[in-house]
């Protein structure tokens, strides 16, 4: 074998030849071979069954975990989705916050001068933005 080859690849050919021989055995020959080694075929097979059971259990757990994750993801709001604010006096929260934010204060003043006021949707949107920015918590308290 030349120096730069992947060491274990050349073992694959040997493994293939040995497995080919194994596959040529009849069931009776294999059982006889196992007995000749001093082993109990049923006990040996039971070990493999346990491996298979473990694989099935593992898969079941993985599926359960995936299902739980999918459920959690479905329950969580999509990124960017607007959550409805659970506070009673949204406008009071906004006014309190505006005291410390000149741009927001100017915007609210301008809206009032124009006689337009500010809609509930706008209040909700501004509060959501503030919450997304981490400026207030879910209750509207400054963070």
């Amino acid at each position: 074998m030349s120096g730069g080859e992947k060491p274990s690849l050349s073992l694959h050919r040997l493994a293939d030849e040995l497995v080919a021989d194994l596959m040529q055995l009849s069931d009776a020959e294999l059982l006889a071979e196992v007995k000749a080694e001093g082993l109990d075929p049923e006990k040996e097979a039971a070990r493999v069954r346990a491996t298979i059971s473990a694989a099935l259990t593992e898969r079941g757990k993985a599926r359960l975990k995936a299902a739980r994750s999918a459920l959690d993801a479905a329950r969580a709001p999509a990124p960017g989705a607007r959550r409805h604010f659970q506070i009673q006096d949204r406008r009071a929260v906004l006014a309190r916050f505006a005291n410390d934010d000149s741009k927001l204060r100017d915007r609210l003043t301008m809206a009032a001068r124009n006689g337009e006021g500010i809609t509930d949707e706008e209040v909700e949107a501004i509060l959501n933005d503030l919450r997304d920015l981490g400026a207030i918590d879910d209750e509207g308290n400054p963070t």
Binding site: G4, K6, L9, S10, L18, V19, A20, A45, A55, L56
Partner: protein, 188 residues
């Protein structure tokens, strides 16, 4: 038209229906394919089952599940062997180690170089173990070396003056010797 394959519940039923001989073949084939890998037969078999149930690999309906799973284990073992990073080596012409072998240095400073050398040391240790195992069996030893050089079967038969039966006899002897010498697999 694609051939029909087992769905997850059919595969599960087929797993439950495996005979004692099927299970023994699966385990022994897994042990052989785990040769030189950092895993054992149980790891290869568990992964083959998971891939089958998840539909990553689809077992044709007319194919015995045990044969299919052995094929999946083979494929997985091949992929694991391929993962060994191929690195060029620098062979020192004038420096030798304590046993007179030329010193070999990695041409890369990557972390993979050290892993590659560990894998190579592991491989060489396994080959030495096999050489010891076949020390009193010239035909088996020659056949193992021919395998490592990937010599075609026909050429091996011609070199060793073997017919098909003789070739199969040596192969069986090799497998039985390895199986007896490494009853818990060669992987670890």
């Amino acid at each position: 038209m694609s051939r029909p394959t087992l769905d997850a519940s059919e595969a599960r039923r087929a797993l439950e229906a495996l005979t004692t001989a099927d299970l023994l073949k699966l385990e022994r084939a897994g042990r052989i394919y785990a040769l030189g890998l950092n895993c054992d037969a149980g790891d290869l078999l568990g992964e083959a089952i998971a891939q089958t149930l998840e539909g990553v690999r689809n077992c044709p309906s007319e194919m015995p599940l045990a044969s299919f799973l052995i094929g999946v284990m083979r494929s997985r073992a091949w992929a694991l062997r391929q993962k060994a990073t191929p690195l060029l080596q620098l062979v020192s012409l004038d420096a030798e180690d304590a046993e007179g072998r030329p010193l070999v240095e990695p041409s890369s400073s990557e972390r993979g170089a050290e892993e590659w050398f560990l894998a190579r040391e592991d491989f060489e240790a396994r080959i030495r173990a096999l050489e010891q195992l076949f020390a009193d069996d010239e035909e088996a030893m020659l056949m193992m070396w021919a395998d490592l050089d990937e010599t075609p079967k026909e050429e091996i038969m011609a070199m060793n003056d073997l017919d098909a039966t003789g070739y199969a006899t040596v192969r069986r002897r090799m497998r039985r010797k390895i199986n007896a010498a490494f009853p818990h697999g060669w992987g670890r």
